[in-house]
């Protein structure tokens, strides 16, 4: 009996080992010129984690589509240094637990060269240690947390968005100038996004500068309690540190309660096109009249902007057409910046050489304000310009501002001029 059982156990044990071994694909992908993960003679593989489903999907899911479209455009025109760019998009549903899994899949299984534009502050902060420990370039993170800018601690991570602290300071500075006697309040996400924004706003407005500060959880779609509290505090100005879906909820709920303050939103949740198309629809022009927001790239309403004409061309040919929106511009500019970095990283790019290229200042982007990249600074866009909605049209006004060393100053250097859609070619 014992013998038979032992034999059975041996069979079972062997089978399980075999099963595990069988599902362990070779995956090594070795044999490359210099054995740089994700890089072959004619191709370079990169990946990203994006909210294609879940609470942040509306609006944000179009970003990676635009980035892919721009890479298609580059690939059709010969790639960068003779290499095509393959862009793997993984859905994490804006859930940090999923981000953990999909990023490990990308780095360890798909063996990507770099992660590009991982979206979300709560999601990406869950993998930043993993990426830096594995020395994977973690480029142009889509989120305004100051966490990305720690070259000492996270040498492989680079930011992209203007930091929420900077956006908050610039918005607060504007509010203070235009409405010096107003009551200022904020409505923010219940994580670092909201905390960072509050920090920036208070730096300008003073420690008791916010009459009320309410928070929401992404998991709860009802914000009536928070908006009622803001109404009760008689707020004239409400700063929104919210993603698009919750900007729409806040504005809509406030209208239901008969509360119409001056809204001032961050670039992460203030794109009129997204708010209109995905949420408020025909009510958008009325609800969002005078709505103030920030951004640091071209707006589709810009007149005679060569960047917009170029991105619109890519949109028509590679992304199913239709009028280009803020998220498309965001995604395409990101692809353009990666191409710039790759072109500057040399004929045989390595993970080290692309980081050096970015730190050397080779990446310019298409922004209204300069990028912060240097060996000591991994900040992305260093400031924003304010826009306002009038009769359903969101357009820039005033000048772009940058925020440095606790001070808001006007930036007069002008936007990066458009030369060529494909960096490194003539």
């Amino acid at each position: 009996m014992t013998l038979k059982r032992n034999r059975a156990f041996a069979v079972v044990g062997a089978a399980s080992v075999l099963a595990l071994a069988a599902c362990s694909s070779p995956g090594g992908g070795g044999g490359d010129a210099q054995d740089v993960p994700g890089v072959t003679e004619d191709k370079i593989v990169i990946g990203t984690h994006q909210p294609l489903t879940g609470p942040a999907a509306a609006g944000f899911s179009s970003i990676s589509a635009a980035t892919s479209a721009y890479f298609d455009y580059i690939n059709d025109n010969g790639g960068i240094n003779g290499r095509e760019i393959e862009f793997i998009v993984k859905d994490d549903g804006y859930n940090p637990a999923n981000t953990q899994t999909v990023v490990r899949d990308l780095v360890l299984q798909e063996e990507v060269f770099a992660i590009l534009g991982g979206l979300g502050t709560p999601t990406h902060s869950a993998v930043i240690d993993f990426l830096n420990e594995n020395e994977v370039p973690d480029l142009f993170v889509s989120g305004g947390s100051p966490m990305w800018d720690q070259p000492e601690k996270y040498p492989w991570t680079f930011g992209y968005n203007s930091e929420y602290i900077a956006e908050a300071a610039i918005l607060a500075h504007y509010a203070q100038t235009e409405m010096p006697d107003g009551t200022y309040c904020m409505f923010g996400q219940d994580d670092d996004f909201g905390d960072d924004f509050e920090k920036g706003a208070l730096e300008i407005l003073g420690a008791d500068g916010l009459a009320a500060s309410e928070r929401y959880s992404v998991a709860n779609q009802d914000v009536t309690a928070q908006i009622s509290a803001l109404k009760a505090a008689n707020c004239d100005v409400v700063f929104l540190a919210s993603i698009n879906g919750f900007t729409a909820l806040a504005v809509g709920t406030a209208a239901q309660l008969g509360f119409f303050p001056q809204w001032m939103a961050t670039s992460a949740g203030g794109d009129y096109g997204t708010l209109e198309k995905d949420y408020l629809q025909e009510n958008a022009p009325l609800l969002l009249e005078n709505f103030i927001s920030t951004f640091y790239l071209s707006l589709e309403t810009n007149q005679d902007d060569p960047w917009i004409e170029h991105f619109q061309m890519v949109q028509d040919e590679y992304n199913g057409g239709g009028e280009i929106g803020g998220n498309d511009i965001f995604g395409m500019n990101m692809a353009y910046m990666f191409a710039e970095a790759l072109a500057a990283a040399g004929d045989n790019p390595t993970r080290e050489s692309i980081v050096e290229a970015i730190e050397s200042g080779a990446v310019k982007g298409s922004g209204l304000v300069p990028l912060g990249y240097s060996p000591e600074d991994h900040t992305g866009n260093t400031g924003v310009q304010l826009s306002q909605v009038k009769s359903g049209v969101q357009a820039y006004f005033g000048a772009p501002y940058v925020y440095e060393n606790g001070e808001v100053t006007e930036y007069t250097g002008g936007q990066v001029p458009f030369e060529n859609g494909i960096p490194g070619s003539n």
Binding site: C23, L108, S217
Partner: protein
């Protein structure tokens, strides 16, 4: 089987699995560690539901309790600049203890409830988790969850894949301990008491078994195992967040126990392997089919859920005792071949 042969088989298996970590590539080691973490939870659940007859839909919440206890302890130790084995082991013990206490409290209520009512209470537990973490977000840090300072891999494992190998070792060690302890409990006197309570509470009480006590202890032990699983997951991902312990995860754990073969530890192992390997295999399958990106995106994630559901229905109809039941039946058939009288197949 004598306990000595079990010991030998177990040891050989353990050595084989640890040997495996040296040949697998890092992502497979990460998956192996995930299997081990799931095994802790599913093993506890299969004992509770299969052996003692208490249905829990909330084991994800108990695992989450373990993960958060792990996070608080590990971060506290790291603040005191404690490193080494203490930072590795103490948080796991705290996680087990914390989950056991929560399990004891729930178990005291559970002992008074039957079937769907108990399922309801445990369901409430897992549904309340995100609400609790966002209500007390200064403690739990809301949806973002807690970042955890964990003990890093030892120096000699530096380099590519070292971290994943270390994670796999810790996870396998925890799973081995949990399985050994649960096995002893299930094989012994307490195991008979649990079965007696499951089969007929009145008969068990008449036979002198303290029904309430048995149920409470079973729930507490099962929770402790779930806590160990949660601790391993927290250790691997360096984070504890409510999103990692959702209702869907909770139901998947129960499905794993049922598909693997409810009430047996081998079943828990098969179920845990399936839980990790199946979505991955489906992912590679859809990728190799070269579908249009739109279709592939729609299938991504959803197909695995659908397939799990289909397997679940199939298992209930064709093999109510799960994978382990099928394997056993097959083995008994092989043994009885050649002998004239058929061996009775246990139900």
């Amino acid at each position: 089987m004598s306990s000595r042969t079990t010991l030998i088989v177990g040891l050989v298996g353990l050595v084989a699995v640890i040997g495996l970590t040296f040949v697998l590539d890092p992502y497979r080691n990460y998956q192996l560690a995930t299997i081990a973490a799931y095994l802790c939870v599913v093993a506890g659940l299969t004992m509770l539901t299969g052996v003692n007859g208490q249905l829990s839909l909330g084991h994800a919440a108990l695992a989450a309790c373990g993960a958060y206890c792990y996070a608080f302890t590990a971060n506290g130790l790291a603040e005191q600049e404690v490193t080494g084995p203490v930072l590795l082991i103490l948080p796991i013990l705290a996680a087990v203890a914390g989950a056991a206490v929560l399990g004891l409290i729930v178990g005291l209520a559970a002992a008074r409830l039957h079937g769907p009512y108990l399922a309801g209470v445990t369901l409430a537990l897992v549904l309340a988790l995100p609400a609790i973490t966002s209500r007390f977000s200064d403690v739990f840090n809301g949806d973002q969850g807690l970042y955890i300072s964990v003990e890093r891999r030892p120096e000699f494992l530096a380099g590519r894949g070292g971290t994943e190998m270390f994670q796999a070792w810790v996870a396998i060690a925890c799973a081995a301990l949990v399985v050994i302890l649960l096995r002893n409990l299930m094989k012994g006197n307490f195991g008979r008491q649990m079965r007696a309570v499951r089969d007929n509470e009145v008969a068990a009480a008449i036979a002198g078994v303290n029904v309430a006590r048995t149920k409470v202890i079973a729930f507490t032990v099962s929770s402790a195992a779930a806590g160990a699983g949660g601790a391993v997951l927290a250790f691997m991902t360096q984070s504890a967040s409510p999103g990692a312990f959702s209702l869907v995860f909770s139901l998947f754990l129960l499905m794993a126990a049922v598909i693997g073969g409810i009430g047996t530890l081998y079943g828990a192992l098969w179920g845990s392997i399936l839980l990790v390997v199946l979505p991955d295999a489906i992912g590679s399958l859809t990728k190799s089919l070269s579908l249009s990106p739109e279709v592939a995106q729609r299938l991504d994630g959803n197909l695995a859920v659908g397939l799990f559901g289909a397997i679940m229905v199939l298992v209930v109809i064709v093999a109510p005792l799960g994978i382990q039941g099928l394997l056993r039946k097959g083995r008994l058939k092989m043994q009885s071949r050649g002998t004239p009288q058929s061996v009775p197949v246990p139900k």
